[in-house]
């Protein structure tokens, strides 16, 4: 399952989520503002709380909205 670490007011997070929806990719939103566990996971994956962070395996991730990198990671 694709996970998007994000928070509601973050405009680039919104863009990533809209992009995944446009490609019919199911994903889980992990809100780092509302969920302490999600924030810890995000920190563990990227070493930081800068978002959006998109990951499939919890190891490799894409920071920000980078269409080429998202496409490559998700096999679009």
């Amino acid at each position: 399952m694709v996970k998007v670490y994000s928070f509601e007011a973050c405009p680039w997070c919104v863009k990533v989520k809209k992009y995944l929806i446009s490609k019919n990719i199911e994903f889980e939103v992990r809100d780092i503002e509302l969920d302490v566990e999600a924030a810890k996971e995000c920190q563990k994956i990227s070493g930081d709380l800068t978002v959006p962070v998109t990951t499939v395996d919890g190891v490799n991730y894409v920071l920000g909205f980078d269409k080429a990198k998202l496409d490559a990671m998700l096999g679009i």
Partner: protein, 310 residues
């Protein structure tokens, strides 16, 4: 081979000017496509409270722009924020807008590409971008809970960013190379916050850190003293520059890089309009961006009627 698609109007940029133009073009039944390379809403998408847009006592930038987007889409305009423009040819008719995936052939192009935040002019910027150097306090500010941050800049955007970031940071340095240009009311709020230390007439000279930013070197231009400040992050707010890289070979631009077009938004190429902050003009406000979008759209319709002999 990229697919070729005809459009009556292609609007480049989905900020207030572009979306207003899209709303008007849509209302006039013009087949309208809006292309946005970055964020829908542009600069105001990040504004936490807009108090000078008529009709609203205070409105979040994202809420305001979302409403204008809905208005434009309800009138039939299509917005694509995922297919980036790679090249434009404006002097030909139809005008050619090539994106990563498609080639659009447009009768009219309205350029409302707005402004980009100016990057930190230091060689270390690339190393620390996203790793301590940031340009969007709303996006990245929360990552600095109980940390030390610096804000670079002295205008309204910088001081507003600093005021916003004080809700996360345990300590905030505001560093600006000259005197404040921000409104008194915002300055006062910042000065009264005990977490804040202000360095005016001060330049940032160097950034230090291994994988992430750890400290900065600042230089006081009056005392000529150099200091090292331990900071976890720096938010850069040193102004904006016009987003005209794609057009400046064909369109007349001013010294500051903005597109030269009069109050009628007409550029030096027929059928190409410039609207909003990207147009060279004295006043650049959200209200004037909406006004430009309106003007460009209405004159687009006139131009198309003339082109078709209607």
């Amino acid at each position: 081979m990229k697919e070729k698609i005809k459009k009556e109007v292609v609007i480049i940029g989905a900020g207030m000017a572009g979306l207003t133009a899209a709303m008007y073009c849509g209302r006039m039944n013009l087949e309208t496509l809006v292309l946005e390379n970055a964020i829908i809403g542009g600069q105001i998408a990040n504004a936490s409270g807009i108090e000078n847009y008529p009709g609203f006592l205070s409105v979040k930038g994202s809420d305001l722009i979302s409403t204008v987007q809905t208005q434009a889409e309800n009138f039939g305009a299509v917005i694509d924020e995922f297919d980036s423009i790679v090249k434009v040819t404006l002097k030909e008719n139809p005008k050619i807008i090539e994106t990563e995936e498609k080639i659009y052939l447009a009768d009219v192009v309205i350029i409302a590409s707005g402004m980009n935040r100016r990057k930190l002019p230091l060689p270390e910027e690339k190393k620390f971008a996203g790793r301590g150097v940031h340009y969007c306090e709303l996006c990245d500010g929360h990552a600095y809970q109980n940390k030390i941050v610096a804000v670079m800049g002295g205008g309204n955007a910088a001081v507003d960013a600093a005021n916003f970031l004080t809700k996360y940071a345990k300590k905030l340095f505001l560093i600006h190379r000259s005197e404040f240009r921000a409104d008194e009311i915002s300055q006062k709020k910042l000065r009264e916050n005990p977490k804040v230390e202000i360095f005016l007439q001060t330049e940032i000279k160097k950034l230090f850190g291994d994988k992430k930013l750890e400290s900065i070197e600042i230089f006081d231009k009056i005392s000529e003293e150099t200091k090292i400040l331990q900071v976890d992050g720096i938010f850069v707010n040193i102004g904006v520059e016009p987003n005209t890289e794609l057009f400046k070979d064909e369109l007349e631009v001013s010294e500051s890089g903005r597109i030269i077009a009069g109050e009628n938004c007409k550029t030096n190429i027929e059928g190409v309009f410039a609207a909003g902050d990207v147009r060279e003009k004295e006043i650049r406000q959200l209200t004037t961006a909406a006004a430009d979008g309106t003007t460009a759209a209405l004159l687009t319709e006139k131009y198309l009627s003339k082109l078709r002999g209607v």
